[in-house]
């Protein structure tokens, strides 16, 4: 897999999607994750609906295109998702990175673009960083709201 395959149009488009960029004024939960390899940083804010679904999501990303694309795709595909679906998507994307393919949830098929990253193991963390931040933000929100169902 070449670097050219890595930087395909869909990935660049996802990275350029700024629709969920920024901070929420009153998040239920937040998390910041740093990439120890390169110092990249992502901060995610979320709110959870009473049924524990992701009702709002924003990211503030100082990172590479892969991380930006991943953060953007989370916004465009997982808003409204349950915590279970977020976890399933996180696991499926990890599998896509490690194996080059995987069964992504229907709503999250867009993450299939990261199959091109499989051979670039040093970049897997770039794709997964937003998921790690999202997972921490969900836990933060559940701890604050007392809703972990």
């Amino acid at each position: 897999m070449s670097s050219l395959d890595l930087y395909q149009r869909d990935l660049l488009r996802a990275a350029a999607d700024a629709s969920h960029a920024g901070r929420l004024p009153r998040p239920d939960g937040s998390a910041t994750v740093n990439n120890p390899l390169c110092g990249d940083k992502i901060t995610i804010d979320i709110t959870l609906a009473p049924d524990n679904t992701l009702s709002a999501y924003t990211h503030e990303t100082e990172a590479c295109v892969l991380c930006q694309a991943s953060a953007g795709l989370i916004g465009s595909t997982l808003e409204g998702a349950t915590a279970t679906l977020i976890t399933e998507t996180h696991q499926a994307v990890t599998q896509v990175l490690e194996q080059g393919s995987g069964t992504l949830p229907t709503q999250a098929k867009g993450f299939g673009i990261f199959a091109a990253v499989t051979d670039h193991t040093a970049r897997h963390a770039c794709v997964l960083m937003p998921f790690e931040a999202l997972t921490q933000a969900v836990k933060d929100a559940q701890a604050k709201t007392g809703n972990s169902s």
């Binding site: 070449s2 670097s3 050219l4 890595l6 930087y7 149009r9 660049l12 488009r13 990275a15 350029a16 390899l37 390169c38 110092g39 990249d40 940083k41 100082e62 990172a63 590479c64 295109v65 892969l66 670039h120 970049r123 770039c126």
Partner: protein, 418 residues
């Protein structure tokens, strides 16, 4: 113009022929992280592992004797290269382990109220090791301020130097900007104003061309100097530090194990004299022999001509990048490579992440490093999280610079064309 011929120099490095045989474009600009390995090094390690494989300082058979002699000969070669007594050369797994051994050993004498000054342009190895070991003794860790170009702010340093300062940790050459610290000047200032301070120098980026400095390590106003073989055309997994005997004799060892003792009992264990005290367990024998071969190779080079060649390439690359306004490029440390600077060109291009630039450059066979280069405080000084670094060695050519510039432009076109 110099008489140095980089294409002829390439013949010492089998990687070029190997990449040619694979039909792979190969523009290796990551020597600041790890240089290519010279043929005599590979030959020496293969010979040892083929004919004389044995542990050192233990068994009495022929092969063990030969291995011990080769291992200690490597120490002799290093001592000659740096102009030190052989007993002041400690072999380690690399600069990081060396700095941790030094930090642990010197921190033993620290107490609350003592100060440790750490230059903010240091690699993490010369920062975190002090944070771990010196801070545990109650010492205060204080950064030494930098100028806008990322050099040590000498006025600020002078104001920080008091008799409470017990340690000053410096980087001889920044692994990001390439700026060189004048060890004579800075060391003398520290000696005059902070007479109780030991001066520790990370030499990872300067050791490869040590003959340029035309001095022996003990003649400098410093106390410890650490470096790694893998940045000196040698193998990974081995490095060394030089330290003054009188200081090392009072340092406890970081690692305990075989060989570093005089006797062991449950009533008490005695430690061997340096350097053995700091070389616990089976050392990296094959790598140390390769390290000796690397330094033997370095000893025969015209370092002045090589550095002139390297810096010419670095200046060309930096000037070309800086002169193209559409790139909106910042050269960390500035684009002036005319003095006191190693050929490390680190740059940041607005809107283009270093990892993306490096990944895209890779498709043209251009090997650069993107990231914080284990120098996050220095990155913070420049207001950055990361940068792209092209680090140049004698085997690089103008063709490599052209390839890098074209690859960077192509990457920017793709990343900004969306």
């Amino acid at each position: 113009m110099t008489s140095f011929d980089p294409l002829a120099f390439r013949n010492h490095f089998p990687a070029f022929a190997a990449m040619r045989d694979e039909g792979r474009d190969f523009h290796y600009l990551d020597s600041g992280a790890s240089t290519l390995v010279a043929a005599p090094v590979i030959a020496a390690m293969a010979d040892h592992d083929t004919r004389l494989r044995a542990n050192v300082h233990r068994s009495v058979h022929y092969w063990a004797e030969q291995a011990t002699q080769a291992f200690e000969a490597a120490r002799d070669t290093l001592a000659a290269y740096f102009g030190t007594p052989r007993a002041e050369i400690v072999l380690t797994s690399g600069t990081t382990q060396a700095l941790n051994i030094i930090a642990y050993g010197l921190s033993d004498g620290l107490q609350t109220g003592d100060e440790v000054l750490v230059a903010a342009d240091n690699h993490h190895a010369n920062i975190v090791s002090w944070q771990i070991h010196a801070a545990a003794k109650g010492a205060t860790i204080t950064p030494i301020a930098l100028t806008p170009l990322g050099q040590i702010d000498e006025d600020a340093l002078a104001a920080q130097l008091t008799d409470k300062v017990r340690i000053v940790a410096l980087s001889h050459i920044s692994n990001v900007t390439g700026w060189e610290v004048d060890l004579n000047k800075i060391g003398s200032m520290i000696r005059a104003k902070a007479p109780n301070a030991a001066i520790i120098v990370d030499g990872a980026q300067s050791a490869c061309h040590w003959p340029l400095f035309e001095t022996a390590l003990p003649d400098l106003p410093i106390d410890f100097y650490a470096c790694s073989a893998h940045k000196m055309f040698g193998p990974t997994g081995v490095g060394m530090f030089w330290g003054r005997s009188d200081l090392m004799e009072n340092m406890p060892p970081l690692l305990g194990g075989g060989e570093m003792i005089t006797n062991v009992s449950f009533d008490g264990t005695g430690f061997a004299q340096p350097p053995t005290r700091f070389e616990a367990g089976t050392p990296p024998i094959t790598q140390a022999i390769g390290f000796g071969a690397a330094v033997g190779f370095l000893t025969g080079l015209d370092h002045r001509a090589i550095r002139a060649h390297e810096v010419t390439l670095a200046a060309t690359l930096a000037a070309t990048l800086a002169a193209q306004p559409p790139l909106d490029t910042t050269i960390l440390g500035g684009a002036d490579f005319s003095r006191d600077r190693a050929p490390l060109v680190s740059f940041a291009i607005t809107g283009c992440h270093p990892h993306d630039i490096c990944q895209l450059a890779d498709r043209s066979g251009v090997a650069m490093r993107g990231g914080h280069h284990c120098a996050q405080p220095l990155m913070g000084h420049f207001g950055l999280l990361a940068s792209t670094r092209a680090s140049i060695a004698g085997y690089n050519t103008p063709d490599d610079m052209d390839a890098a510039i074209n690859a960077i432009k192509d990457a920017i076109n793709l990343l900004k064309g969306t």
